[in-house]
Symmetry: C2
Subunit: 461 residues, 2 copies
């Protein structure tokens, strides 16, 4: 176990560091209601749950602060244990002194994610819900917030549990057969099992497919900007980032690809992928056939191919676009951006440049021309890529992997049914599928897995 004793009473600052009017120190564990006894006049073990109490925290005669204590008696608390939330003035000195007093009286500092870990251990939330709390805190766009909220409310877990229960029913029938294996009976109808597995696999695959969307919502819709040097790539990027330039969250656990920059346009988070690699090896204007740039473009949901109005060679651009479209695949959308259009003085001539192309935009990144239209298109495109119909979307790579493993195990079940293998072999694959589904909600866990998940949380959560 990578976490400390769950019977320790733990404490930590749960509000951000820094100076503010107020701060919250959270105390959870068997001694939560008594640990403040030497410092607070009221006996919290005698008060009602869900009440707040105002008074001084004193170390002997020394007044540390006037605080408000909110008392939550287990199991009616976040962790399921007795919990006190201490609201003090937001001075670093006061916070530190109060934590010191708590530790002197037997508390220990909480490890990252330890409150959520206890909530999971005490059955207050399942694993996917606990993970959603971290996502909820880190979410900085409406769409990401909605997904995390749905997951925290258990919608994803319910879907997974439905699948598990159906599969468990069959698993138990098959296990029953094993008990009677010498009598060669079949309690589990093989055709029904086949239908069920195909149905479950359909849902599993749908959830797996939603990960591209979920990941895009959580981490930003990946957009690759391609183009030869001096086409205005950086200028365009800066113009798109503009005032809405996002503060990239530094929360542990929100792992990302190497990214160039992020911004939110009309409530949608975009992640602009670095294609700078193209510069190092380019030897001809408008050549984009560089493997590294391709790789990145292939990970993008939207590709912006940037050329210069004054120097563009239409035939060459068409060639490149065709190659681009064929290589990035049908899922991604490719746009042609004809930049520096301000250098073409005749508007008719400028318009003609775009006329022969599908999805072409005349822009001037430096002067802002055409960028509002482009942004609107990007936002609309992103929204249409994000299947708004479904509330249950996979956002977590761990869940995606568990689903992929489930899918593989179900393949094994189907294969086994086709080759008419015996129940004991079928049972192995069914159990494997159940195992991987159970990993998602935490029915099946290992200490390593838990340690890995919760250690990425912030302290105080």
């Amino acid at each position: 176990m990578q976490f400390g004793n769950p019977n320790d009473t733990i404490c930590a600052l749960s509000t951000p560091e820094g100076v503010g009017a107020l701060a919250i120190i959270r105390i959870s564990g068997p001694e939560a209601l008594t640990v403040l006894k030497p410092y607070f006049k009221k006996d919290l073990s005698k008060v009602d749950t869900h009440t707040v109490h105002y008074g001084a925290i004193k170390d002997g005669d020394v007044w540390i602060d006037e605080v408000v204590l909110s008392v939550f008696k287990g199991p009616r608390s976040f962790t399921g244990q007795d919990t006190v939330e201490l609201t003090c003035h937001g001075s670093p000195y006061i916070r530190q002194r109060i934590l010191q007093l708590l530790i002197e009286n037997g508390c220990r500092m909480a490890e990252p994610g330890e409150y959520s870990m206890r909530a999971f251990m005490n059955g207050k939330v399942d694993l996917s819900q606990a993970e959603a709390i971290a996502d909820l805190i880190a979410s900085s766009s409406q769409a990401a917030h909605k997904l995390a909220m749905n997951q925290m409310r258990g919608q994803f877990s319910r879907k997974i549990n439905e699948l598990r229960e159906k599969l468990i029913h069959f698993a138990s029938l098959i296990e029953l057969e094993l008990d009677f294996s010498e009598e060669d009976v079949e309690f589990a109808d093989r055709n029904e099992l086949r239908t069920l597995v195909v149905e479950i696999q359909g849902v599993v695959r749908e959830l797996m497919a939603s990960f591209a969307t979920g990941n895009a919502i959580k981490n930003g819709v990946p957009v690759a900007i391609l183009g030869a040097p001096n086409m205005g790539k950086s200028t365009l990027l800066n113009a798109l980032l503009g005032d809405e330039r996002a503060i990239v969250s530094s929360i542990a656990g929100t792992t990302r690809d190497t990214i160039e920059d992020e911004t939110v346009i009309e409530g949608v988070r975009f992640r602009f992928i670095d294609t700078a690699g193209i510069r190092e090896t380019v030897d001809e204007i408008e050549t984009i056939g560089i493997d590294r740039a391709w790789d990145k473009a292939q990970k993008a949901q939207i590709v912006l191919y940037l050329v210069e109005a004054a120097t563009m060679d239409e035939a060459r651009v068409k060639e490149n676009l065709d190659e681009l479209r064929s290589r990035v695949g049908s899922d991604a959308k490719v746009y042609l951006l004809i930049n520096k259009v301000d250098q073409i003085t005749d508007p008719a001539q400028a318009k003609a440049l775009a006329a022969d192309f599908k999805n072409a935009y005349l822009i001037s990144a430096a002067h802002g021309t055409g960028l509002d239209d482009l942004k609107k298109t990007l936002a609309e495109e992103a929204r249409s890529l994000q299947n708004e119909g479904s509330d249950v979307v996979v956002t977590n790579i761990r869940h995606y992997e568990a689903l992929a493993n489930t899918n593989k195990a179900l393949d094994g079940v189907l294969h086994g049914l086709e080759s008419r293998i015996t129940g004991d072999f079928l049972a192995i694959d069914i159990r494997r599928a159940l195992h991987h589904l159970g990993e998602i909600t935490g029915e099946i866990t290992t200490d390593d897995l838990l340690g890995n998940i919760f250690s990425k949380f912030c302290i105080g959560k």
Copy 2:
């Protein structure tokens, strides 16, 4: 009035910005218990005061967050008004959405210090106590915290009010005389008044004298490091700052002189005063007679005069020290630091350098030699400068000015008594003294004064 309508219901984030597990949004005003009605299932106007309530904040069907609401019904709240403290997850997106919902339903954003302003207006705290809250939040050393805490608990206010009450008693007798002025009676015994004024003035002057200490505790004990270039001033400063280098608070309202750097040594905050000016005009080694450096040295409570072991001219150093001591006055302590002692290979020779001086330290700033002793001495010296006996210490320049004005008015009273002026003239000076004492606790205020004080608070306080 520089503040908004006190009958508005106001809301603001009261915990620091940034991402954390939890955040508090504070709501205060007549609608505090009803403004969440469209978004929260429970009717807070029907619950008991000092209770906490868990549930979802929903905008129609959209779940924003699961929150805990602490209900404080006026007058049993910080502001004296109905107040709700909403604890949500510490995501910037969630905080912003909840504040938006509150504002859509009739709240407005609180101005800086508006909660404390309401607490003052509703008689929950006096002005000096409200100011102490800001100091308490900003305090980063034990001594500063203790002073702010004492002030917040009203010890300073009580002292001021004692003085005021005594003076008010006499003022009323004198005013009574004025009503009977044609009868030439004296209700107020002039000798008693004289004794009282002298007594009050004694306390006022004592409080004024404590400001040097109070200011030193709050903003750091001022230490000037003087010395010619290349004596190792910067090296010494860096060595003293070391790992304990302080984060300088950026709270509005903690105005400071131009400072070089701050650090806390053994729980005492020190403020090292920039004497860089000496470099620009120096034309001879060990010449320290530069006016600008003198000015700064004169503001210091401790002066460190730095020379180099290998090149020091004892006679010259003595001369400079004598001049230094005579110019900085008897309140400040002057130390001679003989630096780069490592360049003297013979320990006896090194020791001899210091032998002829009082308060001389052999150090090597670069190698750390002698610095522990120096730090210990600085901390001891600071503590002896800070009169530990008195709990009531003036830390606020506004209070100091009010006390100085009180003192001046009391001078006027004494002068009037001596020159046997009539009661009506005495009354003017007594009223003036009362006015200035009343400014401290806020018995006497102007809108400008209040605006000036509270606008320096942080938002959410």
